[in-house]
Symmetry: D2
């Protein structure tokens, strides 16, 4: 039997970090469709993020991307966030949008380019000091497009050297989250293509280095919850970038493509003791064609629903069925939780927190979308390029 | 025994159409790296294409992309091409880069958007009349990102209606090549996702409608040469967009990722009677990080090498082994051709045509790369956006 | 607004055919684990199938596989079924387990082997006449393992010839369902690898030939509901082989791996008018490690739950959101139905039919499992080989 | 410039271990096709393996599979091998064909089953002591088919405990090679699904534990040569199971499906210092439909050809191109080696060793196939089950 009060208590504590870039324009290599009302500055992104938190109560922190969110005064930005009930979260580096990075950044064959890239990463730690952020999230676009283009192994050596220097710079209470990705924008090799590579580097780097799992970054057929369970067992799961994909790194709303998978992932998080401060729940999404703020609200809700179902699993019954080798019963215990409609439960949790039980509807009624469409005219909309 | 003289004669007749857009800048959603010397106009693209043809003798036509190659006077552009030993080839439409196309073009739920898209396609036929092009190549980015977003079946009805109108507009000797693609830029559904869908539409449209196979547009594990053989058997293979991929639609140089696959495809073309005017050999590539002109020369050469090997297959011996059910012998006959180093043979063919046996080296010696780097300063470089 | 009474009425009419072979032993190439109580004859398979129908009320027909279910007197077998409230359903042919079929059956290079295979298919139609079955389901293991092994196109010619002869033999009211499969047991080419190939053959064969979709037979990333919508639009969807897969043709319980996908498929069935006699709902599963009868009951229930959710979709609201281009609203309408817990609704439907609301629990209480374990000793258990 | 004499010298030293089970019958879950002349005992398998070595000069060791090759007196079997110019090689364990292993072996929820499985592994080490084998190859079929079936993480604990006990039992000079595999025969989770999991276990186990890479055991899109380079860099690559696949674990002849990939793998082996005694080159194949002995000879030759091409890469030129960032030149250096026809070079190497330059033809002339077909009548052919 699951303890409903405990489930609700756990759900009340869950927070999902939203990424500043999801509020800006995004697209594919074919087209970036612009949307009316999109923020033109980091402050306007925070304004939008504050809406998400206001209606969900579950998105108190916002991840920044440098240089897209570069400002002169990070302390001032942090204060701006605080006034809106937010905190600045993870700092995401960018070593893929400068012309120098055509053949890589920290893995580039030219030491001067590597130096520049490491310099950027160190700047990100400086920013963390200013913002009070705990986590530096590192995703490298590094890789090659053609066999022979560069030395696979030498690139690992260069990567290790760069990571080591950055890790040494981290202060107490700061962490480095290393992200892996199967492919894109590199097509032949990617320098951190899988969890094994990220894990091997993090192991050498020590306790401050942790692996981050982006749910869209795996080969077809990969069992992501297995990776989650394994990394938790090894003490090396630092967090998630949640999003959905049907085929590649589609960056759709979390829970939109395979809600059962998201549930299974959250179940391994709960089962493995990952439901706590050590594992960061973050979104990393691109709302190319849908309205951005309600899409982010919906994504937060989808994570909550998957979590609620995971918490509802009757773990004693599950363990008993597993021990007895009853395949059907064990599966049925899990499915019983998954098939539960947890929306009423989450509505209760919201009402107990003084929130509207239907965050999307409440947001729509708020008039915010019309307000930003009217007010945010002129200037340059934020996007991946800025 | 293969007849070497016949193989060489066939190789002399082979031509590969190069795409104007491959001479311009391209990239991923993360970054478009610009390169020095990139063309700033359709005429400069033709200048570069003329280099490819000068050194390979096998790339006499250039595909245009509308609106990227829109000019006021297509007859004048055709004359410009002719002066450089080229002809204008396939016209490629673009119904994915206008803000109106956020939810699709010919499949859009709004009839006004569909009308606009069809208008563009009809404009492309007008251009074909002016350029003397035979083929209209249609690739639709249409699709949806989320389950429920639109009605899958209604979109097929809209697609059929648009294709029918455009097909009816084609003149004698003009064709419509319908391209399919698994995913990207749409992630949940694509309105022409596979050869079966393209085939079903082309069948209803009649003889002028043919399927085009882009080698990078399939799900993992798909046997492309099977599709080639099947479409040839059905009389519905209109041509190829050659390129390479390791995972998705990577658009790398043809033959770079899986040269054995390209050979198998070319073998089915030869075996199925597709080595003739009815099947267009085209490149559709993006040279994001490598020098563009020599990459295109290399790609043409890779197609030639695969073709040479396909022509070298001892088909009598193969048929005998197949009839006798000798799996190993049949495979060995095919592999014997594949394992042959055909570079000397192709060098001979080139010398007989008065060409340098090593096109890449000849291009490099020509000084063209330095010339365009110096001369093409100022102005706006061509890319996917223009 | 959905009409609950209509939904329940529709659910009451739904039937799912169970396959005789799912009651027997099965496994992988590594091992077939035997289970206690497994049937030793076609009659005992029918006894088990009767249990599934007794507790679900939704599995009145049983598919036979020839020669695994070969008997001397099919009329007598049909009568045996009828006494147990069942009917004999689809006849499945087998042209892959005779030593002669090492290199194929109807596509074999040797005409004598092809003759033998066609003879078997014609025998299956004879059996249909005796059993009163409507559908002949054809799945061919034909293909090749190595490039060059056989002529891809000639094999299509042979296939077409065989299908044509068998189709001509079908009587009024009889159909031929042609199944496609990406790979396995052939690894390089499969002679009917995708829906396009099956569709092209069925088109030429005429109205009696229809395509059957096995949900485990696609490449990764394939959108199955798109195929369903397309085949329904073309009038060529004959039925389903339901099962689940994570990577290949895993043949797990329907709805176990991706319940959201099964829901999306059922929604396209409902939307496309496929919820009627023309589209056969069949299971094709292997219960390698779990108890077979309750696994089949669970699978029937999973199909029912997906259907119930599909029927609950508010199609007016969906159409309105789609027309207006509101991506999030349209998706939300679909998800609202999916997120509904339909188990209480189905429990009501069952009770109204005089059934236990919990078929698995009722089956377990029945003592059948213990009975067959005790009684079915001696003899040879049924499996894929018999 | 590559040193041809050094290349030939290296090729002369290369040996490829052949697996005893490849000489016996194999198949898919659908059918095992038997072949005439297949061995009926471990000794007859060695007789066949001696043929492979006689004609290639490169297959001096034979891997055994326990219990398929269980004999009363392993010293006598080793002597029998030695008389035929062979040595007994890697010992492969089997913990997947006993009814007790339905839910796993070393990861089974029941400690009694785990105990039995560990006992078998320890028996394999005893056999190694008797045969003088260096390597114990561990592949576990362990996993689950359904979500919830068992506790993912607890299974890792059980696995670690078993591996630790077996590793402790290894003598000086003995190693444990841990194999990973994406899926099959388990479909939902596999307990060692990827190199990362195998690596993490081997790291804790210490120097005697190494990872083995089976080229058919990866998800689509996985870059295997990257894994090879990474494991070599970490000092954890113990060997290869070579074979080919188009989609899943097809176990076709090495080099048959993607010869370019095999070349790239061998290049990383050479580049990473893996061409030496520390990395075992083994075949793991199933010749379901083709003649077995010549298929194995062909596979050894394919590995040799890929190796020859890898050795021919002009590494100085490659390094220079890579350093200068010339993508096309670097790729061209690699492709130049790949496009070379190395069959004449290998023919020379064979002739210098006193072998026939064409091993397959020589084998066919030898009359061995006819001899075993005539002599090996009666008795029970070897297969996966024995």
């Amino acid at each position: 039997m699951t303890d409903l009060a405990a489930v609700k208590a756990a759900l009340r504590t869950q927070s999902v970090e939203t990424p500043s870039w999801a509020y800006g324009n995004s697209g594919t290599r074919f087209k970036v469709f612009t949307q009316a009302g999109v923020p033109r500055s980091p402050r306007e992104k925070l304004d939008d993020a504050a809406q998400v938190h206001e209606f969900t109560g579950a998105a108190p922190t916002v991840a920044l991307h440098i240089p897209w969110d570069r400002v002169d005064d990070y302390a001032s930005l942090a204060a701006y966030a605080q006034e809106r009930g937010l905190r600045l979260g993870t700092i995401n580096s960018n070593t893929f949008q400068d012309d120098d990075y055509r053949l890589g950044s920290v893995c580039h064959p030219d030491p001067a380019v590597r130096r520049k890239a490491v310099g950027h990463l160190l700047e990100c730690v400086d920013i963390m000091d200013a913002t009070g952020s705990r986590d530096l999230k590192l995703w490298f676009a590094d890789g090659t497009n053609y066999p022979g283009q560069d030395d696979i192994r030498a690139r690992q050596d260069r990567l290790a050297e760069a990571l080591s220097e950055v890790c040494a710079r981290l202060g107490d209470g700061q962490r480095m989250l290393l992200e892996y990705k199967l492919f894109e924008p590199s097509f032949y090799t990617t320098d951190v293509p899988d969890w094994g590579t990220a894990y091997a580097h993090c192991l050498r780097l020590g306790e401050k280095a942790q692996v981050v799992v982006d749910t869209g970054h795996h080969a077809p057929g990969t069992n992501i919850e297995f990776i989650v369970a394994t990394l938790l067992r090894e003490g090396k799961l630092g967090g998630f970038d949640f999003n959905s994909r049907f085929y590649a790194d589609d960056d759709l709303m979390a829970g939109a493509a395979d809600p059962f998978q998201l549930f299974r992932i959250m179940f391994e998080v709960v089962r493995g003791g990952g439901f706590g401060p050590g594992v960061a729940f973050m979104l990393d999404q691109c709302h190319n064609i849908e309205a951005k703020i309600p899409a982010i609200i919906r994504s937060v809700m989808n994570v909550q629903e998957a979590t609620a179902k995971a918490l509802l699993v009757d773990r004693d019954a599950l363990a008993a069925a597993q021990r007895s080798g009853d395949v059907l019963d064990a599966n049925a215990v899990l499915m019983d939780a998954y098939n539960t409609d947890v929306r009423p439960l989450l509505a209760e949790v919201r009402e107990e927190l003084g929130l509207d039980p239907d965050p999307v509807a409440a947001y729509r009624r708020s008039g915010w979308a019309m307000k930003i469409t009217e007010e945010r005219t002129g200037g340059r909309q934020s996007g991946w390029g800025a």
